[in-house]
């Protein structure tokens, strides 16, 4: 039976993973323990054929249960399925070194996310210089990508949050729907982090999500 990967944790946390969590296809979530790195997995009938909202929500809920148990967790991207446990172990061993390094470096951290709609002042207030002349749909698309990139690179909450966060990554939701600030935060600093975000006038309408598994920080900085 195929093995589905939800996330990766350091092996010294493996015995703290809750035993009663159900994942995709209602399969019980379990841990494949390795020397340094362990995989949070479940057994599925088959690899998910396509992404659905239910599957995506279940994937995230499994990771949430692990994070709620106080474990620093690197989220696996959706839909990684292996022939069996041995195949999954092989892949974890092969790629595990870089992930183990990240988890060791970020031990005790969670990911927090600040969501701003495109109409919120901070997200909307960034002026982006436009290209001089657009001559076709190809250039228009490239210009759109460039403008998005330019907006993102102008945005940062890190100066305001200071040492409350370890790192920040900024991205945009599709179709310019909003801006996402992903922050790496020590668990014991989460209450202060929330207060800082909620107390900032420009972030009055921001939505704060977390604590989450490390999604944006699961891989080393590109």
């Amino acid at each position: 039976m195929p093995t589905y990967l939800y996330g990766l944790i350091l092996s010294d946390s493996a015995d703290r993973v809750p035993r009663d969590v159900r994942g995709i296809g209602a399969g019980v979530v379990r841990v494949l323990t390795g020397r340094v790195l362990s995989a949070v997995v479940g057994t599925v009938d088959a690899a998910p054929e396509r992404a659905t909202l239910e599957l995506v929500t279940t994937h995230d809920a499994v990771l949430q249960a692990v994070v709620n148990a106080g474990i620093t967790t690197a989220a696996a991207r959706f839909r990684q399925t292996f022939a069996d446990d041995d195949d999954a172990r092989r892949h974890v061993e092969e790629h595990g070194e870089r992930i183990a390094r990240v988890l060791q470096e970020y031990a005790g951290c969670v990911e927090m996310r600040v969501l701003l709609r495109d109409t919120d002042p901070l997200a909307a207030g960034v002026a982006v210089p436009s290209a001089a002349r657009i001559s076709g749909p190809g250039q228009a698309y490239l210009e759109q990508v460039r403008a998005q990139h330019a907006r993102v690179t102008h945005l940062a909450l890190a100066p305001m949050l200071g040492p409350m966060i370890q790192a920040e990554r900024v991205s945009m939701l599709p179709d310019d729907r909003g801006v996402v600030f992903a922050h790496l935060v020590k668990r014991d600093r989460v209450p202060g982090y929330r207060d800082a975000i909620q107390g900032h006038p420009a972030l009055a309408h921001a939505t704060v999500v977390g604590p989450l598994a490390l999604y944006s920080f699961a891989e080393p900085e590109p």
């Binding site: 396509r50 992404a51 909202l53 995506v56 991207r77 959706f78 939701l173 599709p174 729907r177 944006s216």
Partner: protein, 82 residues
């Protein structure tokens, strides 16, 4: 790309923003250790279709609930719950 009119108004509420972020982070972020992982554009389109259907359904339910809610100016008898 044009924006979806269902989501393209001031009613793009925090819950919808949270769902949209959830879908995007699970599909687009996180560790990749399998070379066979592929999320096609069709997948992303389909899941956004799911999202639109869900949001639309929630909006309909809320409208229905509001329409069926007892009016404050109509007295409700204590035995009317049976």
């Amino acid at each position: 790309m044009s924006r979806d009119p269902l989501l393209d108004d001031d009613a793009y509420e925090p819950e919808q923003l949270v769902l949209s972020d959830l879908v995007n982070r699970v599909l687009d972020k996180g560790v990749v250790i399998s070379s066979q992982i592929t999320i096609s554009i069709a997948d992303v389109d389909l899941i956004h279709l799911d999202l639109r259907v869900l949001i639309s359904a929630v909006a309909s339910l809320e409208r229905r609930a509001a329409a069926n809610a007892p009016r404050a100016d109509v007295p409700v008898r204590a035995d009317s719950q049976r």
